[in-house]
Symmetry: C2
Subunit: 260 residues, 2 copies
């Protein structure tokens, strides 16, 4: 339970101040912050707030989207922000196909070179980059990196990986690739997956136990790979967002204790 | 163009007789039949109809769904039907998790043993089995076999595979696995994939050219692997089903000529 982290999008309607307060009241000692929420509260103010509240910052979400114009400047800003927040890593969502393009292989090569180009900038600022393989249903619009194997093959060795149960649970190759990842695991995230998927597949996440993922083997593999960092719960779900956030945090702790 | 086959679900509202008539009028020399449509027309009558129309039967869809009670008897019936229809293969959709189960590894092992158990029955009747790896977004509810690599690893060597562009386009490993599959490719299917996906992801297929798949590399790989059979166009799409079927067939031929 001491490794549980609240990813801020699980309680998306809450401001940074409200989310930090929720963590403190519920005894959650780590938080995964989102850049838009941080910007609304102010970067320096957020850093001061989480520090005075005694919270770790398990991740900053998110850089990446290398298919968008201006990606380089935006990712440098994200690295700067992660440094100020002393985030354990900066999560990089690879981005989908460029507008109007069908060149998937080219988009993937571009991600590889974009990651490599960010390594020195991040290293100078002491920020750990973490690329996130995404569920293949997001390949076109959100993440052309589809498996952990591919992320490990394609990213420079200095770049870590995010293991998000929602994105990788289906992969027949996931357990050996978690073992292979070893110390490159920079973030471990979880949420369940709904079956059937809702109309907006981006919101197909659910509280652990409300979907079909068996978290035991994935957690055991990440443990065996040597990962000892925080475990973030990241749920994009319209019902969770509409619910009372104190109830959400209570349920989250119970499910985490029971299933993880 | 002589290898183009109409998968019957592309023109789902048409009866067997209407679909066969459409193929003949549009110069399409092969058809992929669906068991429910065949049952409605009668098995022997369908076999006689396609033969007299001079059509090949590129596949019978579908057996599988090994997670459902009664799967063994149902698959034996499907094999019997494929034999009568002289279908080039029987497409096997693996099925998802059993009701209420989260045991993905167990479901996959069950598919492997179910496939093995069907091999002698199919061989005695001269029917080629073809297991279909499904897009991971269907893993829970429709197909626990998620990649071509997994299908080739898990199925007995007598069982062929379906390469469906819609299901495999995202897979970073797909081209080497197509090469590896070689003579095990029993069916080559195509449709595009919509971006964004519609509310019912089962209907996320589209006419080639209306989505984001680049068919060139996939077709070249299947050719290079030695596959010389029919190429089925299989589109599950509410707008296509609502459209005039003669227009659908005309468009389909144009797109096939331009993109495949």
């Amino acid at each position: 339970m001491s490794r549980l982290s609240l990813n801020q999008w699980t309680t998306r309607p809450l401001s940074v101040a409200e989310a930090v307060d929720g963590c403190v009241r519920h005894g959650i000692s780590s938080i995964g912050l989102w850049r838009d929420h941080v910007a609304a509260h102010g970067l320096a103010a957020t850093a001061a707030l989480v520090r005075s509240a005694g919270l770790r910052v398990s991740s900053l979400c998110r850089g990446g989207f290398f298919n968008r114009p201006g990606w380089l400047d935006d990712n440098r800003r994200a690295i700067d922000e992660a440094a100020v927040l002393e985030a354990a890593c900066l999560v990089l969502v690879p981005g989908g196909l460029p507008e109007g393009s069908r060149d998937l292989a080219g988009a993937r090569e571009h991600v590889a070179s974009a990651l490599a180009s960010l390594v020195p900038y991040a290293a100078e600022r002491g920020v750990r980059l973490a690329v996130e393989p995404m569920h293949p249903m997001y390949c076109a619009d959100r993440g052309v990196i589809s498996t952990l194997r591919q992320a490990l093959d394609l990213a420079p060795p200095e770049v870590g990986v995010v293991v998000d149960c929602f994105h990788v649970w289906w992969d027949p190759d996931v357990l050996p690739q978690i073992a292979r990842a070893g110390s490159r695991i920079a973030s471990f995230q979880m949420s369940d997956i709904l079956d059937p998927l809702p109309a907006d597949v981006l919101l197909g996440r659910a509280m652990m136990g409300d979907g079909v993922i068996d978290f035991g083997p994935l957690t055991a593999a990440v443990d065996a790979a040597g990962y000892t960092g925080d475990i973030e719960v990241e749920i994009f779900n319209a019902s969770v967002w509409a619910a009372d956030s104190d109830e959400v945090l209570s349920t989250l702790k119970k499910r985490f204790a029971a299933l993880v």
